[in-house]
Symmetry: C2
DNA sequence: CTGTTAGCGCTTTCAG
DNA sequence: CTGAAAGCGCTAACAG
């Protein structure tokens, strides 16, 4: 016997309400959308029918017809701590302004941004926030704000944070504490945000008159496994670093895990600083010192901008939010003696 | 001049692809959906046109027509830490199984669950997780799994956690440390989950042979402001409690804030235990001892069940996940002397 | 193998 | 003030 789906209970639709109230679908539609040209009497009867049947309009159908909705999208590649934080901030603003919000995870395949936008744009959502996009070429069909895009600058309105200044500050912080061999675990060289962070590191190193040793600069592609590998190599060096600056918290945590598996202590043997300040950073043992991006505030700012664009046809801008060093427990003075790996 | 919306760039649709490839829309549709009855030649030409135009099907329209989609919904009243954690777990499973996922925050108004379900059900999503629902009467039109519903037991498949046992454990933990006057800041008496937590408290108190003093039992409706008020009253009592058990972490944090504003120290003057283990609990100063619900695991479990229901027409079940006491820094021995409020 | 056509639920002219 | 009918983008019958 072939697969047989349980017949779904029919959804109640406009026609059901119309029949119940003894009017036409057109009239019900007018009542639902507060159009005038309906007598109070009829309207009351229709409303009653709506309540009794528990009717609620179908977003797909009305969006298709109207080419407009009051739903805003937040498009992410996946729900991880970073996007979850942004979502909280964005949702708070949207709800306050009377918009509903839909968060969509489009999967990891290349071009997910455009795909998600095309699938939802116009008929389901009236505008979108795209989180950490890497592909943003085509003119989108609805207003779009990019949050922390990896390539840039692009033509889209954007909210991001000042990774350059943030990383300069983190590097100086280590230098002030006596570190001179500071390694950098970067993300992906071709991404704008990664590039800025690395530039900040280089700037601070040179400004302090330290030697810029490029063997101390590695790329992780933000992949924890690669971060572990790079950390291992760095620690095996003739003259290993005493501190590690990481492109994000997840790679910082991976590096710290590896160091400890090798019998080292953080920060006694190796100081580590992350980037982002996702919730996990504070929970790590030892709590991770990191460069905080104000994720919720970034989400809120981006959503405000999007709403202005959708509602008032406002121009989008480029907003760069400040970062801030959060001092916790993963940085100490440089280890005095040589490294003994367990 | 009246408000004039910027004319949106037209979305590319099936008809555009058809024209480009020199075939009919029906043919393009077949190619898109991998139906057979299209020559390889034509199919190739169509695919080329799709790529060139960057076409991606419109979810609203195809859902409307097919009465089926491969998108699953996670319906929440708002995106707060609790639902964000569940979402992470649920999303991981859905993506692994080839489903897309849409999270929808329906607003706080009464009956948001039903409204969201009606608006999205069938045409946009093929099934839904409803998080902390309070209204679940009508037969939903698509498969639905309730996560941590507040009323229960209901007829819907459900994933929740064992609040009774969790609260018994937390209460015993305090008793073991010498506390005898233990207050309980409950949520909403009419909610099933709240009720179970309070029952656990009562059970443990009586099992230990302690007097059950109902003036120590307060209701907060999970509202931080009410939690503060209740805490204030408790501390003003002739014989104030030495420990506070809270229905969730947010009220526990509110209570701790108030206690400290009154000049008390946590846990020296007052021990506090929360419930849920949202990320904020660990970040609070002092880190909050709490009863952990495995939120991500609950989201994952619920999503697995939903997928089985949607795909294989499986029966839903009721899964109750274990809770676990997380010992942190907000519990100490009972204060020896009387309380001095600052 | 391909195209024509009807209709999913909804909103909007436009007649009555 | 009310309803009939067309059409949003898409898919599934059904002819050709």
């Amino acid at each position: 016997m072939p697969f047989m789906a349980k017949p779904l209970p029919p959804r109640v639709k406009l026609a059901d309400v119309a029949e119940r109230a003894g009017v036409s679908v057109a009239t019900v539609s007018k009542v639902v959308n507060d159009r005038y040209g309906v007598s109070e009497d009829t309207a009351a009867r229709v409303k009653e029918a709506i309540d009794e049947l528990g009717y609620a309009g179908n977003l797909g159908a009305s969006g298709l017809r109207m080419q407009a909705t009051n739903v805003l999208g937040v498009l992410v590649s996946s729900f991880e701590p970073f996007s979850a934080e942004l979502l909280k901030g964005a949702a708070r603003v949207a709800e306050g302004e009377g918009f509903e919000i839909i968060a969509h995870s489009g999967g990891a395949s290349f071009g997910w941004e455009r795909r998600s936008l095309a699938r939802l744009g116009g008929t389901i959502i009236a505008g979108a926030l795209i989180v950490t996009a890497t592909v943003l070429d085509a003119d989108p069909a609805v207003p779009v704000v990019a949050v922390d895009p990896h390539y840039g600058p692009n033509r889209l309105p954007t909210v991001d944070s000042d990774g350059f200044t943030g990383m300069v500050g983190a590097t100086r912080y280590l230098i002030d504490r006596g570190h001179t061999r500071i390694a950098f675990l970067g993300g992906r060289a071709e991404l704008d945000s990664s590039h800025l962070r690395e530039a900040g590191y280089r700037e601070a190193i040179q400004e302090a008159g330290l030697e810029l040793d490029t063997t101390l600069i590695r790329e992780t592609r933000y992949d924890p496994a690669l971060a572990r590998e790079a950390t291992r190599e760095l620690l095996m060096l003739e003259e290993p670093p005493t501190a590690l600056l990481c492109g994000n918290d997840q790679t910082a945590i991976a590096a710290a895990d590896l160091a400890r598996e090798l019998g080292l202590e953080v920060p006694a043997d190796l100081s580590i600083i992350g980037f982002d300040d996702i919730p996990d950073a504070a929970l790590y043992e030892p709590a991770l010192t990191t460069v905080r991006q104000p994720l919720q505030a970034m989400g809120a700012e981006a959503m405000s901008m999007l709403i202005a664009m959708v509602r008032d046809d406002a121009e989008g801008r480029h907003v760069r939010m400040p970062t801030e060093l959060v001092e916790r427990d993963s940085v100490g003075p440089p280890r005095p003696g040589p490294l003994r790996l367990g």
